[in-house]
């Protein structure tokens, strides 16, 4: 463990324990808020999937399951590297924190890169809602809604990842060797946030990609 006496304590806290618990509870409250944010999107998805089951089934077939599965694996891997960064922070290993955060950033970069490839395929196939929408199939009219929700939900998810990458970069920079001692709470709540982003994808992946795969 890092020497507790060197870990910084903000002026308005009594002790490390209070500071730690307060930070954690704040992050959990924020994540509750995030759950409700994505909850709005999931509600819209459920409403329309129930209304247009065939269209959703058919549209889901146009998504690239291979790339989706690859991304799921990458993201779960990034949760592991993030957990290792948190562990390194608690052990006071600056090198460990920086290395594992960089690994997480690279994983996030791969995920976003694959996502960009998928988006560009959809664009070429005319599957982006709007004036150039050109779905070929039997239930074409309502498939546009599926893709609207696909882009809406995965776009919001990707935005959360970009924000996460930005935060990781800042935290990694602060933990560079020969900077002043940093508080492990910072890495810990960043970890909570990242696991949440991961979890959102764990729900999005089956709902969007795996619809009807069982038939």
């Amino acid at each position: 463990m890092a020497d507790p006496s060197t870990i910084p304590l903000a002026h308005h806290f009594e002790d490390q324990e209070q500071q730690h618990e307060t930070t954690a509870i704040g992050m959990w409250a924020f994540l509750l808020s995030e759950v409700m944010f994505f909850g709005g999107l999931f509600t819209a998805y459920l409403v329309y999937r129930n209304r247009y089951p065939e269209a959703f089934l058919e549209a889901s077939g146009k998504l690239d399951v291979t790339l989706g599965t690859l991304n799921t694996a990458v993201l779960i891997g990034s949760s592991l590297t993030m957990a290792l960064a948190v562990r390194a922070a608690h052990m006071g290993s600056r090198g460990g924190v920086v290395r594992w955060l960089l690994a997480t950033i690279i994983a996030a970069g791969i995920f976003l890169g694959v996502k960009a490839v998928e988006y560009s395929h959809k664009f070429h196939d005319g599957l982006v809602p709007g004036a150039n929408y050109a779905f070929k199939g039997t239930a074409s009219a309502d498939t546009e809604l599926f893709f609207a929700l696909y882009f809406g939900a995965t776009g919001m998810h990707a935005l959360h990842m970009v924000i996460g990458v930005g935060l990781m970069a800042v935290v990694a920079w602060r933990w560079r060797p020969n900077n002043v001692v940093q508080h492990p709470d910072g890495v810990e709540v960043l970890g909570l946030y990242w696991h949440f982003v991961d979890l959102v994808w764990i729900f999005l992946f089956p709902l969007l990609y795996l619809l009807g795969r069982h038939v």
């Binding site: 308005h12 808020s33 944010f37 882009f151 919001m156």
Partner: protein, 542 residues
Amino acid sequence: MNPLTVTAVPKPKRNFWNHDFSVKSWLLTEDHKRIGILYLLSITLFFFLGGVMAVLIRLELLTPAGDLVQAETYNKLFTMHGVVMVFFFLLPSIPAVFGNFLLPLMLGARDLAFPKLNLLSWYIYMVGGVFTLFVVFKGGVDTGWTFYTPYSSTYANSHVIAAALGIFITGFSSILTGVNFIATIHKMRAPGLTWFRLPLFVWSHYATSLIMVLGTPVVAITIVLVALERLFRLGVFDPELGGDPLLFQHLFWFYSHPAVYIMILPGMGVISEIIACFSRKRIFGYRFVAFSSMAIAALGFLVWGHHMFTTGQSVFASLVFSLLTFLVAIPSAIKVFNWTATLYKGSISFSTPMLYALGFIGLFAIGGLTGLFLGCLGLDIHVHDTYFIVAHFHYVMVGGMVMAFLGAIHFWWPKMTGFMYSEFLAKIAAAIIFVGFNMTFFPQFVLGYLGMPRRYHVYPEEFQVLNVLSTAGASILGFGFLLPAFYLIYSLKAGRRAGPDPWQAKGLEWTVDSPPHPHNFETVPVVTEGAYEYGPEEVKRG
């Protein structure tokens, strides 16, 4: 003897105003008290901006014909009035100003849990405000503050995206404030300050914070979808593309009904503090009042469908929403009854804050009870989208929240500034506001019941008498609102020194200097008794 020592004025104690005067020290402050003051200045600005629009609306309605403004301008006026007042005044008013200023003081803490986040909230609020000001000066938005689709997403030719962005951004300030309050109330309480020793102001802010955290993100994503729909023809709310405009209403009211409680719960907290202090009594049924705040927050999430009785939603759904709406009346009534019971045999003094508190109880009761009219499936069909509902929510928002806000500012002004205002002028202003308010909005109940629809700039001639009455009342109300701005500012120049506890009130915030030291408490206080221990001997003394 050195003559200098005779003439020298004693140096004022170090407090959060005078420890640093630079502009930078204000713009980068992490002190919850200074951030509260920043919010006070900004929401006052937006209040007067929204007020100007209200004045124009009332002037137009002075005559049956549309003579002052065109229909399009009128649509923009009531929309911007609603947007500015709801999102930039009412929602942040008591939590962001008094919650910020008072929570750490009431809890015996040196600051909120996350001071930097608190400052960030204010900046986010201001960025959202700049978007809204931009919309105002570019010609406004005409969808109504409710942004109903598909008009807002497809047909409106006004600045919907910019206005939506402004609201979206401010929403984050609200979420971060909620997160900050929740963490603070959980973890920053002084030793001995258990949950049931907390002032009811803290309980109501806890309930409010939960709504902020759980509700605001839903309206945020909804507004994003509206903006995306306008930009890219996304179709989620567009019936032409298979989308459902009613889904928008469900998502919108899922937030916007609980948002009413974001506006009123902090006000109820203020009223509990004031009633206890000026009755010199414990709040009757403290735990009931505390839990009623939580009950209002929880039930508030289950009643949104009462805004949609006329949209063709299933009768069964309407029935359930109607029943749940009636249930919310129970915790609200518990509060009103318990305040009244607190007054009973109290040693009551009618200081200005108390006048506002009593005004709140009466006006909120009217606003709340007329809400039950609207929750009735049959009656709602008759008064839906008429002036009845306009009157109803102004009784709750202005008669309730604004009265509570004014009560709060008169109660804690001495704590914030260290000065007493003119009690005489303040009482006159309170009376003018009370008369002006009722004269403005009571006729609107009648107008609505007689069938005058809201959101029109012309109306049949038979409605003119009541409209003239309403406009006359509005001018009195407007004058009443200007008065405090003058005598409060004047008190900074000529006011009597307040001392730590000018009202002999209980509560940790009254144990520190007025204005408080930058770090609030020199030593962390230890709490040994519940809130409002005014005690029986005090009542006898009165």
